[in-house]
């Protein structure tokens, strides 16, 4: 069983590598690249995890799957808080996000936190896309290591 720390270290290095190798004026593209990286990963992961599960009944069911099984497999814990406005917008709150716990607990490094959330946003978006839902995902951090992912579903 591979040690989880390898993924944490790889993730940190992917973020650092992308920022090191893009020119100064293209820095904001890094977030998009990280997100697309994550998208592809999310697509494959969800195929693997839902191999044996039955079809999902509705959107809420899908979100519960994301909050419990998916989050435990990828981020080693379940989502702490799920809120929705029942119109397709869901807010997932994780109070000890995997990639932020070692960075700080409070205000330090908050400006750089988005870099480390981009790939995870992509993973979730990829997972939902492969289940059949297009979505728009944004992440925000108000106090490390807790962060909120806002997912807007776009069902036709």
């Amino acid at each position: 069983m591979a040690d989880d720390v390898i993924f944490d270290l790889l993730h940190s290095e992917i973020v650092a590598f992308l920022h090191r190798t893009t020119e100064k004026d293209n820095q904001d593209q890094c977030i998009n690249k990280l997100e697309s990286l994550g998208f592809r990963i999310g697509q494959s992961i969800v195929e693997r995890f839902t191999k044996e599960s039955p079809r999902f009944k509705d959107d809420l069911d899908i979100m519960k799957f994301i909050c419990k099984e998916f989050w435990s497999a990828v981020f080693k814990k379940q989502v702490d808080n799920l809120r929705t406005n029942h119109q397709g917008v869901y807010v997932l709150q994780d109070n000890k996000f995997r990639f932020l716990t070692q960075m700080s607990s409070g205000k330090q490094y908050m400006e750089v936190a988005p870099k480390y959330l981009a790939m995870s946003c992509g993973v979730i978006r990829g997972a939902l896309a492969n289940i059949g839902i297009n979505s728009v995902i944004t992440a925000e951090v108000s106090a490390m290591p807790s962060c909120k992912f806002q997912i807007q579903l776009q069902r036709t």
């Binding site: 070692q102 960075m103 700080s104 409070g106 490094y109």
Partner: protein
């Protein structure tokens, strides 16, 4: 039983962290000179000990003591040196320094993507965890005569 201060040096001699708890007398020289002096001394003592040792060297230099304090050194395989100054009643702190390395340095500095391992440590989480850990040690009981 007290802990006076702690230095963390990397492989080339940069002082990554300095923590002070009960230091009663300052050295009278600017901090960076003190760090260079400390590192140079440790380097010389370690090589002296391995050369002069009359028997086979097992662990090399571990600590030295004066009439007032004891200086402990813990060196990791990656060349990181943890130096702790304590008073004389403290025995071996090898496990303490090993714990600090394993559970605090590795967790909050090595795994922190924002931390540059070759420069002084800025991460507040590391400093806070280290403070909490040191203050909770049984060998830390600080004297209650007002000196922090």
């Amino acid at each position: 039983m007290t802990i006076y201060n702690l230095y963390i040096f990397d492989r080339i001699g940069t002082c990554l962290y300095y923590g002070e708890w009960n230091r009663k007398k300052q050295s009278g020289m600017p901090r960076d000179e003190e760090f260079k002096l400390m590192y140079g001394m440790l380097f010389s003592i370690k090589s002296f000990v391995t050369r002069i040792s009359p028997t086979d060297v097992k662990d090399g230099f571990l600590n030295f003591k004066t009439s007032k304090f004891r200086l402990h050194l813990y060196e990791t395989a990656s060349g990181l040196k943890f130096v702790l100054n304590t008073d004389l009643s403290v025995g071996s702190v090898k496990d303490v320094l090993h714990e600090i390395y394993r559970t605090i340095y590795v967790e909050y500095v090595v795994k922190n993507p924002e931390c540059d391992l070759t420069r002084t440590i800025d991460a507040e989480l590391f400093k806070q965890k280290l403070e909490d850990y040191v203050r909770a040690l049984p060998i830390f009981a600080s004297r209650t005569d007002g000196i922090i």
